[in-house]
Symmetry: D2
Subunit: 278 residues, 4 copies
């Protein structure tokens, strides 16, 4: 059904630029939780994404589902975003970020200095530690990383990270894998309205409508993993998410109608008609 997207000429969107590198797609995906490497490969393609995040620790330790994962992706086409999932402290995260950089180099991305910074001492909600995240970010920026920190939607923390030299901020919509959607839209809106770096909404998005909503609010990009990998049909959901990210971005550029209290008729009703008028 969605195979026949008629090309329509539209004003061209500017690319998403992170740390000087430009991307057309505004949807990033992940590699965890898939039922098979094949489903992962198909989903990455059908999502249209250009950035894929990889859990460095899980690849290094060959955690279940991560054997062969790094090799299963065509890194000549996909930009790797190594992440520090599984790190509970700033020190741990810094160390794993360095490993991630090595991994990217080994896989052919010599100039890849990106890292998705996760400092998560909490195993129940997987919520990030603001203090440890800021500390690790400051260190990684010093070491030349392009740091994309995963954070609770705290506008002041976002500002601290931006001032520390982070390449983006990545506020969470709701806990990782919860599928609760955007539960803190007010704070995310404040972050978007005030950030000078790209804002990537990460975690919690469960449906295309939630993906579109984040983009309509003015987010620069999204990262979605669980909602794709754990859907009944991951590749189809990946395609849906890719389209929703585009649709939301286009709506942001196209200028939505204002919300009004009352109805607005299609046009003034002038005159009346009778059968004879026809």
């Amino acid at each position: 059904m969605q195979t026949v997207e008629k090309p329509v000429s539209q004003p061209v969107d500017s690319p998403l630029t992170i740390a000087g590198r430009s991307f057309t797609s505004r949807l990033m995906t992940g590699t965890g939780k898939y039922r098979s490497l094949e489903e992962m490969q198909e989903s990455i393609v059908s999502s249209g994404c250009e950035i894929v995040t990889v859990a460095v620790r899980r690849v290094q330790t060959q955690a279940p589902g991560h054997e062969g994962l790094a090799e299963a992706i065509d890194w000549s086409k996909i930009w790797m975003l190594p992440n520090t999932a599984g790190c509970q402290t700033a020190e741990d995260a810094v160390r794993v970020a360095r490993l991630g950089r090595e991994m990217a180099k080994l896989l052919g991305q010599e100039d890849n200095n990106f890292v998705k910074l996760e400092v998560i001492p909490d195993s129940k909600y997987l919520l990030p530690d603001p203090i440890g995240t800021l500390k690790a970010a400051e260190q990684l920026v010093k070491e030349g990383f392009a740091v994309l920190p995963y954070i609770n939607a705290d506008p002041l923390l976002a500002k601290h990270l931006e001032e520390a030299g982070c390449a983006t901020v990545m506020p969470l919509g709701s806990p990782i894998g919860s599928g609760q959607g955007i539960r803190n839209a007010a704070n995310i809106q404040i972050i978007i309205d005030n950030a000078k770096v790209p804002v990537v909404v990460d975690a919690g998005i469960g449906t295309p409508s939630e993906a579109a909503m984040a983009m309509e609010m003015g987010a620069d990009a999204l990262l979605i993993n669980s909602a794709i990998a754990l859907a009944s049909k991951p590749s189809m959901m990946a395609n849906a998410m890719g389209m929703a990210a585009k649709a939301g971005r286009m709506a942001y550029l196209a200028g939505r109608i204002p919300v009004k209290d009352y109805a607005i008729a299609s046009s003034p009703l002038t005159g009346t008609i009778t059968g004879a008028n026809f």
Copy 2:
């Protein structure tokens, strides 16, 4: 940006079938409120829609913005859905429906018996009259119309209309043109879960995220007019709405993840790593 939609093979969706007629697109649009006929024409194309609703009274009376409207659309490609906008009583609506059938015939759609039934005595919110709507629907069904009634999201009224032989039910998300989105999702969900005819969510949708949400809930189709026609860039918004309707439908078919209270880590963390492990 949205011009390069890579074709991806997916399970084929069944068509939308209304009164025995099948359609691929699940987004219907309108003709009112556009700033120019050109914007209307471009938007209809970029939305990908196959059904367009036309206000019979406004065309008949050549209301402002409706001169030449009927002739501006290529009715060999687009299925006309005449509507009874501007009718305050059942009698008025029945009469205008008959005019609509004539209009469709004159424009080349000999076998078009569709009518979007609107009975709206209320000029402030443009909310439909349940009593008048049911009465008009019963008469129009007798006369051989395929009736698509615009209704408040009342599950029992929807059932009455279905039993009266209507071809669809069209519950409103929120008042016409208000852009408030889906304000009565609970009732619309009950209608969807119990209807044996297609459910078309009509009125109130302001953004692609709201369009996608209605489709994710299981709606069969959408009708969107104001949010496209009155957007800053109507054609771009039309494109976004078309993609969102598809994305929402695909997500419905792809099976979303359940909503959970807590977070779910990407994978069990087994073992620990050190720099030496790499």
Copy 3:
């Protein structure tokens, strides 16, 4: 804890007046679903309510939990609101309404002509039938009843019932006993803004916050049964609901602050201080 409500002099609220009869309390309760008659009796007292609804059919047939129910309440203090629960058609409801009037007379309320009209063909969601309800209401008004119809939150239906001579309209917040709260606030607000009879929000309220919200919107009264009767501690919940109804009403009269996008500091900060200033 809540026993010491300090009396504070406030502008006096006008009473709730229904069909010429005035009440101080704006919370109505019910008699169904309690675990015992004692819990029911205690809850009615602690709620502070002055109107209690009784299911005529269940009392007549001595349904489980309804033996001795009518006799368990002091009808010299509480105004009976017989209801037509269990009626699927207009005819059924009219017949049961007449029985209700007899029941009220037998229990000492000679001039009680109130009836809560429920016409509910749907056994899954217990949603009311708009067509049957209007038909029954017209008949009952003719017979001199003060009709309080239970309806889906449809503003046009509410207007029809008002014009038919009903004493109130009773839009539902969400399905009976569901505890989902006010799921259709937009429609209820339109009903409130346009009704010339009291609007009583009925069904779905699960918590005091939801009760207060309905009153803050300008509802004239509430009817709450399940949320009290099925709470772990019904009498305490009844007390909480009574207080919440009052608090919401007071807030409506006291004039809430507008909702603003940005923060407002407590006062301009003038000057700076040092320890020496103190």
Copy 4:
């Protein structure tokens, strides 16, 4: 109307205990933004509160509306909660907290070591700085203060502050004075579920329904200022807020009904009745 709160015996709630000091009321109020000292005095009484927060800087500098403020309250009955409003850095806040302790002593509360810690560099949204707040809290705990920090609803930050020895955590519902209500309920619920110190919801509450909702979620107390001081009738709104805080707390203790998808009839309908049955 609300003067006749019938005393009803209920299970006694445990007191609110902060830093070893117990309070019956769970509503705290403020002193800023009132139109007159008289309105402030009346509102404090009618709210039933036992803790009132005072902006130390504004009192020290005699900011508009703060002349004579400290003397206008009967500190033999009301516990003072000095706050550090207007401080942009940790250092500033620590200094002002010390001044607050002196102020409390001068006004007769010799053993009052409470401070509501606000570190707010942001003048647009008045959102607190997580880094500066934690730093100031650590210092103030060392100096023997009972620290009540005002924070964004970040569960990990709340845990850091608790571990640093704070007496409570005070997550914000939405920006100060915005009246937007509880915009981040998911995070506040996580904080409540995991905190070992009292959780006081602060800022953003605009109505009694929102106050009740926070208490129903299990918050231990509320702080409300703008919604009372800037209401059309502050004293009446204060009374409403006091009742709502109680109602919400009682509902939390009384055990609300679960939310269900479908309706639940009042009782099984057994048998049918006819007029003759009566």
